[in-house]
Symmetry: C2
Subunit: 253 residues, 2 copies
């Protein structure tokens, strides 16, 4: 019931910003010029297609748009469609019996969600707050992203070795992250790889490329690589296919 009410409220807030999306300037019932949902849709698309890069904050006029996107159902639908694509691809692969068929999954906003943290950061309209994020992560309360948990289970059951590769600091956040993932149902992965001292200060592209290179050196065949940041999916040893999950809240270089 609460869920339904939330959907209805979101429907109204969404309808209030919709007419602009049609190409017609319009006024709301209250007489206020509509917010630029059409602009925010263009911005979100450009982020996902990697045309907008190195952005520091969500454009302030897109606060309500991003909130509605994340909580109103479209984010979940986008994930469902991408996971369907991944599963179609997975089902074309015949895993070998040597146990070296691997997938790589990012952690934050790939396996588990930070949307409730970002709600307090105006969905990314506020600049990145390292101390605030660390305090949130230390609580270990990130919920699973259901579509990705389903994918994870399917990969494990299909005989793939799943590696969780995250830029989170191992010393400060290692145990809490492992516990958080476990309690949310991510059980059966081969290894979780967190950022150790030698990689501190490196870009995500450099750090994750090096991790993937080491895995390939160990003999793993990386069939797929899934992340919410382009920096998860660029650099070296990318894997046979990459999949970009949506994230309109922050950019990791």
């Amino acid at each position: 019931m609460v869920h339904r009410l939330r959907e209805v409220l979101l429907l109204f807030s969404f309808l209030a910003i919709l007419p602009k999306a049609t190409g017609v300037e319009a006024y709301s019932r209250g007489g206020v010029i509509q917010e630029s949902a059409a602009y925010c849709l263009s911005w979100r698309l450009a982020v996902e297609a990697n045309n907008v890069r190195a952005w520091r904050t969500v454009p302030s006029q897109c606060l309500r748009y991003v909130e509605t996107y994340m909580l109103g159902g479209q984010y979940d639908r986008d994930l469902d469609l991408i996971v369907d694509q991944i599963l179609s691809y997975v089902n074309e692969i015949v895993p070998s019996s040597d146990g070296m068929d691997a997938w790589i999954l990012d952690v934050d906003d790939t396996c588990i969600s930070n949307v409730f943290y970002y709600r307090g950061k105006r969905y990314g309209c506020d600049p990145y707050d390292p101390a605030g994020f660390r305090a949130w992560a230390l609580k270990g309360g990130c919920p699973a992203i259901p579509a990705v948990l389903g994918l994870f289970d399917y990969l494990v059951q299909s005989g793939f070795k799943v590696f969780l590769v995250t830029g989170r600091d191992k010393e400060a956040l290692g145990q809490v992250t492992i516990d958080n993932l476990h309690i949310q149902g991510f059980i059966g992965y081969e290894r979780i790889i967190l950022r150790t001292a030698e990689f501190i200060g490196q870009s995500a592209v450099a750090y994750k490329s090096e991790i993937r290179r080491q895995l390939e050196k160990e003999g793993y065949r990386i069939w797929g690589n899934v992340g919410d940041q382009w920096s998860d999916l660029q650099g070296e040893c990318l894997g046979n296919r990459t999949f970009k999950l949506p994230n309109p809240m922050y950019f990791v270089p």
Copy 2:
């Protein structure tokens, strides 16, 4: 006035498919269950983020969605935002005096539009029709895409050498393509490169990679590479930055 009327009609057709986009299943005033605009938005996003690949046709339930997207203003807005991003990037580059600073632009649905052809192909819900497309291209009537023409002019005036690189067959379509571009205002480019006999049958990725390799061999520095297909932007010698323009109507492998 006609333009305004078209906008209003599109507004109504858009509103008719909107409620689904809000996460609430709803009925139109006529009592018919809403079409899946939310699904089609997810699909379009996944195409642009290169998560959906090698697709042959637009999902048939997305015919009206793609029509509204292409003609109702959002496609133009998406282009405007991307071109703004490109211009910001261009303005950070200081061209050298040696005349070797280059940009690469694709032609079809980058410089000039095929949307009126695809209108007759149910906006890509019908499968690719090589003979039909050739007959359309031979008319030489593709209109310029205004945002990209503006970008093109800016690049030329800024001292960049602009190369138009297209998979169109040189023998059959060379002259008509050159004339089409000229009449639409694409004047001042360094060279147009069409597909010659040696490249027939090659994938766009292989063909365009080889062309870019040759340009780099000639000494050109490719600062940017703009296309509506991921196959324009993958492979070798990609350039310093790539920009993916939207195209939900067809996929070129």
